[in-house]
Amino acid sequence: MRIFLLRLTAKMLPALPTLCAIAGALLMFVVFLALQGKPALEACQLIYVGAFGSGFAWENTLQRAAPLMLTALCVAIPARTGLIIIGGEGAVALGGLACAVIPMMLPAAFPATPALLLMATAALVAGGAWIALAGWLRQYRGVNETISSLLLAYIALALFNHMVEGPLRHPESLNKPSTPPLPEEYLIGSLPGLDVHWGLFWGVLACIAMYVLVRHGVFGFSMSVVGGNVRAARLVGLPVNRIVLMACLLGGGAAGLAGMMEVAAIHGSANSALLAGYGYSGILVAFAARHNPLAIIACALVIGGIESSGSLLQRRLDLPGATTLVLQGLLFINLLAWESLTGWLGVWRLRLLETTRNPNRAVHA
């Protein structure tokens, strides 16, 4: 029994930093609000109600989480090979644009399924190529990928705006410059029985697929080797450049797909409303999830939930719109800071396991 408990503790230990972080973030948030004489506990309760307190709240949260799962992959997958990409917003924009352009080139009454496949492919390629460009610049030109991906994102947004408000602008889009609207039958609908579009399904599926790839595939292992030690990877003959580019393609493709989902399921055409910062939120989600694709699903839900609750906080407590931003900031600060526990925990965990294996031997023998 004791051994079982010890084993259980050893298993649960890695979750400790996350629990501490959530507790720490909530505590700081409560103090922050209390210092201004705001009803802090009520605010926490409303955050729960607004995020997960009802079927509607869940739909709201899931809907907001869907694009974040895909944009987080844009950070997490390249991160497996040691690259820090922060320009996912550019891939979202170009993916959305590519998806909106395809129907303009198809003949009228082209069937929906192949059209959607083409749109998705275009979005994947556009987003993937843009991030792969950052990877290429790093591998072949030595340009730091964090900076280049950010610059490329700004450039992509400029291109997007230029195209949407210039050459690709639909004359009837009047005061909201947009590309021509997608034909009705190309629009992506809701999941059965839920008021959440199919983007959620694809987001979750992409995270699971990436998890399998990263944890169980040979390619995933090669990525980890490259991310762990480039020299070792080269020594064992891994095609480092190709692996890095592939990781960037996959990540960028995911962000491009997020752009496509937004266009085909929400906006119905590409316009500047697409640029709502999903790419940037994805960075936080990925880091909070420690680049683990399965954890991304959970972290995206938390961020989606916090954002859903913002509306209720404003209407019930008259808190400013930025309240949810403060909470997100606190959450990430805590998540990253408590990360340092992991090192200590590793030691404890080893000792615990040691004890379970050989209960009679002294721990420090």
Binding site: S148, H162, G166, G329, A337
Partner: protein, 312 residues
């Protein structure tokens, strides 16, 4: 009628003057925040949170200036807010296993959120703003007069760039800073403690970034609102690479970036109004092109601190 509207010859003089004025006006916050980032990176850390610190500094500077009636106390208040947030970054990143780039992004969200949250009551009021030296009073050309209206913070920034350049190259603390950032093992072997040096450098970097923010809210454009920053804090990281971690070159990088930012509006005022998104992206394209030209895949960039996660 039509001929009166379209200028017969393109006014290059006017464009050049607009770029010169823009270099200083738009470049100054870039100067401060890139000097801050340079200092931080010289100690071996990257702080992407300077973006959040800059926004927080802009809000704090404006609020303090409004409350006290003195823009200079506002600048100081902004600096202190940046010092605190910078030290926070420095301390937390000294814990084992905390990634400085990731924490910077978290700090960016937090700083921005804090500034937006606390800054709501300051969007409306008008705070006293910083003075400028009118160096162009001798001229009758109003554009030239305005271009030569040099704000005091810019001059402070120029002096600071020189001082930091000299300090890093020729003083003991500069050597320690570089040693810590370049070769932590050696520094430790010589008996220097890494953490205090890094925390101090990051805190000082935060101070400078926040002063850059105060420039935005207290001089140009000279009022606080939520759209004030257009990513100056993030771009600082690019500018520092571009400046090869030399403070003196940060000045030129910032001026170049400022001039590129002025290109869009200047061209439009001369009648070229189509493609404005593309002109407005000029600073980013310029930075990327320069980085591609100057970086080499087979070696780290010259001048890069050895301990920097960014260049490894």
């Amino acid at each position: 009628m039509l001929n009166e509207v379209v200028p017969s010859a393109f006014d290059f003089g006017s464009l050049a003057l607009a770029l010169f004025a823009g270099a200083i006006r738009i470049g100054t916050p870039f100067l401060f925040v890139s000097l801050g980032e340079c200092l931080t990176e010289k100690a071996g850390r990257v702080n992407l949170g300077l973006e959040g610190i800059l926004v927080c500094g802009a809000m704090t500077g404006y609020a303090v200036s409004l409350q006290t009636g003195s823009p200079w106390i506002g600048v100081l208040g902004a600096g202190i807010s940046g010092l605190v947030l910078g030290a926070f970054h420095g301390l937390v990143c000294s814990l084992r296993g905390v990634n400085d780039i990731a924490f910077g992004i978290a700090l960016m969200v937090f700083g921005t959120g804090l500034a937006f949250y606390l800054g709501t009551p300051y969007i409306q009021p008008q705070a006293p703003t910083l003075p400028a030296f009118a160096l162009g009073d001798w001229s009758t050309n109003s554009q030239l007069r305005n271009a030569l209206e040099i704000n005091v913070l810019f001059l402070v920034g120029v002096v600071l760039a020189g001082l930091l350049h000299w300090g890093m190259a020729s003083t003991r603390w500069g050597l320690v800073l570089r040693l810590v950032g370049d070769h932590a093992e050696t520094a430790r072997a010589l008996g220097y403690r890494l953490i205090p040096v890094r925390v101090t450098a990051t805190a000082a970097g935060g101070f400078l970034a926040a002063v850059g923010g105060a420039y935005l809210s207290l001089y140009y454009p000279g009022s606080w609102n939520e759209g004030l920053s257009s990513g100056q804090g993030l771009m600082a990281v690019a500018l520092v690479i571009f400046a090869r971690w030399r403070p003196w070159r940060c000045l030129f990088a910032a001026l170049l970036f400022g001039a590129a930012g002025a290109l869009g509006p200047a061209l439009q005022s001369l009648g070229i109004t189509s493609g404005y998104y593309l002109f407005n992206a000029a600073p980013y394209v310029l930075t990327l092109v320069i980085m591609v030209i100057t970086c080499r895949p087979d070696r780290t960039i010259s001048g890069a601190p050895g301990e920097l996660s960014l260049t490894r």
